[in-house]
């Protein structure tokens, strides 16, 4: 079920390039099946030579980065390319000005951008949705990216829109980043079905502390981010949190419609996402009833279906659809945090002993403390520590709490590991409908014998948002840089409306 990626702006294009390279190397290293490749790549114009084309549209307001991305894809040795005409560039850049990207360039490139997307959509047999890669601090990724997201929402109502937004360094990369970031966030919170925040600061620390790179460059950081994204977006199949409670035999045994590849056992139990609610599986039951997942089997992320027989095999869904429907079930809560471990320097992988217990313990503590780094966590914090309830007035909540979590396990024995720790009710909000989804895949990811990733709809975003908001208030108070935005038709009331919306979002998460 294809996903179309849009790479917007310099950061989006560089990250996207890295993402496709990572996907390609993982797909070549392990056999995930044709459907997995088909999700992100389509058979190229010249099928005999085995070259695939990435399902991607590249958009930037200045030409150099797109040219670089296309050239790196075309470098010898890789089996994929970017589409030869699937890119849109202008000449003069958006000047780090959100309103220039949104109000200035947006309408100008509307038709051309939608045309490129339409071509990709037509080449996809059944569209799941869009993945937008962008930064939040600049002009193109932030402003034009938001405009494109809005245009896609209008044009393709039924498709999911997931945004992967790069949060800038707090020490500043762009002086007007408070404005740009908050405008992007406030608009996307209405448009997007899920916003994954990748923080530059966190990526930097991961590179420096865990990967042993002394002076991380953007290439290194993009590599880490791309691996984390790939670890959740590559195929996986659902299971329950308890070992052995996962595979209920699926009454429907129709062969899947798509050319699914090998996988253990029965055919996928498939249901359309909207109809997935089973009686009694709402709430917090984590017994076998709520956890009863249909058999996986196709190597695609099959959703959890009930035990009730489905009449005919509906189309399978992909991890992206899984992601947004499980995690972002409430319109006010769309901010997702991505944690992928282990983060090891490539040279140490062969010398490391992997155990599920260690990995899962660390991952759980990362979730409890809200950290995205594997080390330096405060192990004394537990979900039951004070400051975790909804009435907590601490400015940055010490204990993290989520709306929903999605755990992906990859590697040896991933299907049978006990992850009941993650199903602890104290980790998630009391009203959460679907607090934990687990899926797994037996293939190794990135040469690590075992690895786990967690995508959670949690409070981690509050800290960075509050700090950015303070800066933004300070600037707006002095009306600094406001005239640059007013050139393109924004006014001070737009700024204030945006800040109010952001306060809204952040208060919701604080009171989780």
């Amino acid at each position: 079920m294809p996903v179309i990626t849009l790479q917007l702006g310099q950061c989006g294009n560089q990250l996207g390039c890295s993402f496709f390279h990572t996907l390609a190397s993982e797909l070549s290293a392990n056999d995930y099946g044709y459907a997995a490749v088909n999700e992100y790549y389509r058979a190229g114009p010249d099928t005999t030579s085995g070259i695939y084309t990435a399902r991607s549209v590249l958009i930037d307001m200045e030409p150099k980065v797109v040219a670089g991305a296309r050239a790196s894809a075309a470098a010898s040795g890789s089996w994929w390319r970017y589409p030869s005409t699937g890119y849109l560039v202008m000449q003069s850049g958006s000047g780090n000005n959100w309103s220039q990207g949104f109000h200035g360039y947006g309408p100008r490139v509307h038709d051309a951008a939608l045309e490129l997307v339409r071509r990709e959509v037509e080449a996809a047999d059944c569209l799941t949705g869009f993945l937008l890669l962008q930064s939040m601090a600049g002009g193109t990724g932030a402003g034009l990216g938001t405009y494109v997201a809005q245009a896609l929402k209008d044009e393709y109502h039924a498709a999911f829109i997931t945004n992967c937004c790069v949060w800038p360094y707090e020490s500043g990369e762009v002086i007007v980043q408070p404005y740009n970031t908050l405008f992007t966030l406030s608009h996307l919170s209405d448009l997007s079905d899920g916003i994954v925040l990748l923080e530059n600061e966190a990526l930097h620390r991961t590179c420096a502390k865990l990967m042993g790179i002394n002076r991380p460059s953007f290439t290194d950081m993009n590599g880490i981010a791309a691996r984390a994204l790939a670890s959740v977006l590559l195929p996986s199949q659902s299971r329950g949190p308890n070992p052995g409670g996962s595979h209920a035999p699926n009454p429907t045994s129709g062969a899947p419609g798509t050319g699914a590849a090998t996988g253990p056992g029965a055919s996928p139990g498939l249901q359309l996402p909207a109809l997935r609610r089973t009686p009694g599986s709402g709430g917090r039951g984590v017994g076998s009833e709520g956890a009863a997942a249909a058999a996986g089997g196709s190597g695609l992320g099959a959703p959890r279906s009930s035990a009730s027989p489905a009449s005919c095999p509906p189309p399978s869904t992909s991890p992206l659809a899984e992601l947004v429907s499980h995690l972002c079930c409430h319109p006010a809560y769309r901010m997702l945090t991505l944690r992928a471990i282990p983060q090891l320097p490539p040279s140490s992988i062969d010398f490391t002993t992997f155990t599920w217990a260690a990995i899962l313990k660390r991952l759980r503590q990362m979730l409890v403390t809200g950290s995205v780094l594997e080390e330096g966590m405060d192990w004394s914090v537990t979900p039951h520590s004070p400051g975790s309830g909804p009435a907590a007035q601490v400015p940055g909540p010490r204990v993290n709490r989520a709306v929903a979590n999605w755990l992906v396990l990859r590697g040896q024995g991933a299907g049978g590991v006990d992850v009941a720790d993650f199903a602890d009710p104290a980790l998630t909000a009391a009203w959460a409908v679907d607090p934990l989804s687990v899926s797994y895949n037996g293939n190794k990811f990135g040469r690590c014998l075992m690895s786990a990733s967690l995508l959670s709809n949690d409070r981690r975003c509050v800290g960075p948002i509050q700090r950015m908001l303070e800066h933004a208030y300070g600037m707006l108070e002095s009306r600094a840089f406001v005239h640059q935005y007013e050139t393109y038709g924004m006014s001070v009331s737009d700024f204030q409306a945006c800040f109010a919306r952001i306060e809204d979002i952040s208060q919701r998460y604080v009171r989780l």
Binding site: Q10, Q14, E62, P63, K64, V65, G68, V89, Q91, S92, G93, S94, G95, N96, N97, G139, Y169, E170, S171, G172, E173, V174, I175, V176, Q177, H204, A208, N214, R215, P216, S217, F218, T219, A332, L469, E470, H471, Y473, G474, M475, E477, S478, R479, A480, F481, H483, Q484, Q496, F499, A500, R501, E503, D504, S506, Q507, R508
Partner: protein, 485 residues
Amino acid sequence: MPRELVTIQVGQCGNQVGCRFWELALREHAAYNTKGVYDEALSSFFRNVDTRVEPPRNLPVGDGRGPIRTLKARSVIVDMECGVINEMLKGPLGEVLDTRQLVSDVSGAGNNWAHGHHVYGPQYHDAILDKIRLTTEDCDSLQSFMLLHSLGGGTGSGVGTYILRMLADEFPGVFRFTGSVFPSEEDDVVTSPYNALLALGQLVEHADCVLPIENQALIDITNRADAAREKAAGGGGAPGGTPAAPTTAASSKPFDSMNSVAASLLLHMTASVRFEGPLNVDLNDITMNLVPYPRMHFLLSSMSPLLPPPRERDVGRQALALQPRTLDQVFGEVFSRDHQLIRADPRNATYLACGLIARGPTATISDINRNVARLRPQLRMVHWNSEGFKLGICSTPPVGCPFGLLCLANNTAIASTFTTMKERFDKLYRRRFYTHHYEQYMDCSGFESAIELVADLTRQYQELDGATRAPAITRLRPRGLSFLP
């Protein structure tokens, strides 16, 4: 498709700086364009012309692999006396500069701003506009104009600011950058305070971004470089015997090195436009991030390395060892007063915004962040921008060095420069010395309005000077939860 910059050089100083600029630009592109193809980087400053046909035909960039035929600079040259231009055209740059883009007269503007602005300006309005239009029509997508001039004379300041106003009217969407050479204390033109202030009033109104360059600062820089070179050459015995090194430096034209510094500034600023890098900075990024209020567009620049490094055979290994070794050293230099192109004291004033553009293949974002974190505590930043720096990284280093750094700062220290200019102006204006020369061509309201504009701006800067503590801010109530207590 390239993004072009058109350079307009006005007056003697402007043309001399422009001349050095073209030489250095050719040198830089020659260093990186080893195959002699006309690529996009070259096309931002030069046209590729096939002179075999008549009229000469412009060759487009195409796929970036066409060979270079004849390069012509995208520039318009204006001077009211022909001495400097003739010399330029006779020299090695004669082929690169196009006589079709030349506007000149014979008698000069007599160091009189009013003569330049109110007489020559309108007189040559059509001719100049024509030449500019011709140049812009050759561009696929024009990004900005760069005006090179001095403020102390008659042509550069008078005609230059007239052209600035004309560009603001005729090409409103294109950025107008100016490299303006401010007169120094010991300027040899008596009326330079008048010219400078009158021109400054125009710059405040019509320029998008001004890069002030002070002659005195350039003199200090070149003297220091010469002294260092002499010390190194005289100290150790450089191999190959270079007792001739000091004399070769002295025998070159006195303003040559000074103009090189100014020209390097422009090259460095546009490096990220022409070459690629992990974090590109366009010219409109610069105006967006470094200009917080519409008229406060004066940026203090400082750079390292300042001068293109001499060749080893000229100065020997010891002198070459004086070049900065690490990126951290370069950062330290850029924030020191020795490397500024204008004599102000930014450390004792408040930074409104600061932009750093690093060049070099080994510069990474973490290097920049580390150095910024190291140096920021020593800087006084305005309260609403206490953290922010605008960063840019370009992969191509300056010629002959492994890395380079440019700092463009919007700092309230410029107010003291303006105050000094105003004082010098007042010394003459109090007694109305020489004003009769100006009143031939304009009435005294011209003086008054310039005084007012500059005073206004100075006051704005001074108000922000002490603004390092944030006032109390009322936060907005979240929309969705407004019913909650």
